[in-house]
């Protein structure tokens, strides 16, 4: 799922500027699951705004709404009548959702309330961890199911750097060294010969470096 972080309240206020009619818009997908932009978080942010403006003695109107998904135009379109009443849409979806809402309701101001951070998994209730960078050419079969692109700080493809010690990455003591994990798993599964195989220099064109990506599946198109 896409994992994000709620922006600091101060930053959101700053972005809102003088706008006082705000539609706080949540998304019932990834951001709900990772506890950053679902109906509950929409409620919390809306409440924070109300409390703040109440405190400041200002007039305001804050509306809460949560869409099934902010990355499909049909869902976005369904709230068109609502949006007219507000100066600003404060989107709590991931970067994709924010943009799609902005696209649908231009020229209305759409403000992100969430910093989209990574594609990841739930480690335990309340804890998420990065697993994928969307590089466009997956090789985790070669690396014991552990992605060196996403999980090695340097995205190294052929073994650890000198900063690996005690199984941990030098960037911080809590981060596992991806290559330690890879070696451990390959050893466990008796596939250490894969470690010996030299990975060629990665062709980054399939990833972000090749420019914005688009995917078309002809058979599914109308």
């Amino acid at each position: 799922m896409i994992v994000g972080n709620r922006k600091e309240f101060g930053e959101i206020l700053e972005k809102l500027g003088t706008a006082r009619r705000v539609l706080v818009l949540g998304c019932n997908e990834c951001v709900t699951v990772c506890g950053v932009g679902g109906e509950r978080e929409v409620g919390v942010l809306a409440s924070e705004l109300r409390l703040y403006w109440q405190k400041e003695g200002q007039d305001f109107a804050v509306k809460e709404h949560t869409l099934e998904r902010q990355c499909d135009y049909e869902y976005i379109d369904a709230i068109r009548p609502l949006t007219g009443e507000y100066d600003v849409i404060l989107s709590m979806a991931c970067g994709a959702g924010v943009q799609y809402v902005a696209e649908a309701y231009k020229p209305r101001l759409v403000i992100p309330a969430v910093n989209t951070t990574f594609l990841g998994v739930t480690l335990e209730q309340g804890v998420w961890s990065e697993r994928c960078q969307g590089c466009g050419s997956c090789i985790v079969d070669m690396t014991g199911g552990v992605c060196p692109i996403a999980r090695c700080a340097k995205s190294l493809l052929n073994g650890p750097c000198g900063g690996s010690s005690g199984g941990k990455c030098e960037i911080d003591r809590d981060t596992d060294c991806a290559w330690q994990l890879i070696v451990d798993r390959l050893t466990e599964s008796g596939q250490m010969e894969r470690y010996e195989e030299i990975q060629p220099v990665k062709d980054w064109r399939t990833g972000r470096d090749g420019g914005p990506r688009k995917r078309v599946r002809e058979d599914l198109k109308l």
Binding site: S47, E48, R50, L51
Partner: protein, 116 residues
């Protein structure tokens, strides 16, 4: 035990503090209360095993939120007490009232949502 405590404390009954939602606490401030405290069972003695532990985490989070919006996190607190500790209840009621008194009224009750 009929121990006196300040009359401004009003109780909202829930089956377990595990039911106490962050939004409920925030709503209370929106409606203009000056402080909120959650009174749960002693830690380790939750009738529903760990509701009071969950509640404590949520109260900590609300403290942060209130700090962010400038109301002050000290306006919300979690207290643990057992059903037989009437004294402790009264003591917390007084403590909290004193604390809120020294903080003054919640600045958030000045205005309500008014734009149509």
């Amino acid at each position: 035990m009929r121990l006196n405590y300040p009359s401004n404390v009003k109780v909202v009954k829930v089956p377990c503090t595990g039911r106490v939602d962050m939004l409920l606490i925030l709503k209370a401030f929106e409606s203009g209360v000056d402080g909120v405290y959650v009174a749960g069972c002693m830690e380790g003695e939750c009738h529903y095993l760990r509701g009071n532990l969950r509640a404590r985490r949520r109260v900590e989070q609300v403290k942060k939120l209130l700090d962010e919006v400038g109301l002050g996190g000290e306006r919300v607190e979690m207290f643990n007490m057992s059903a037989s500790q009437g004294q402790r209840f009264a003591q917390f009621a007084r403590e909290m009232t004193e604390r809120i008194r020294s903080l003054g009224p919640s600045p958030a009750k000045k205005n309500k949502e008014v734009l149509p």
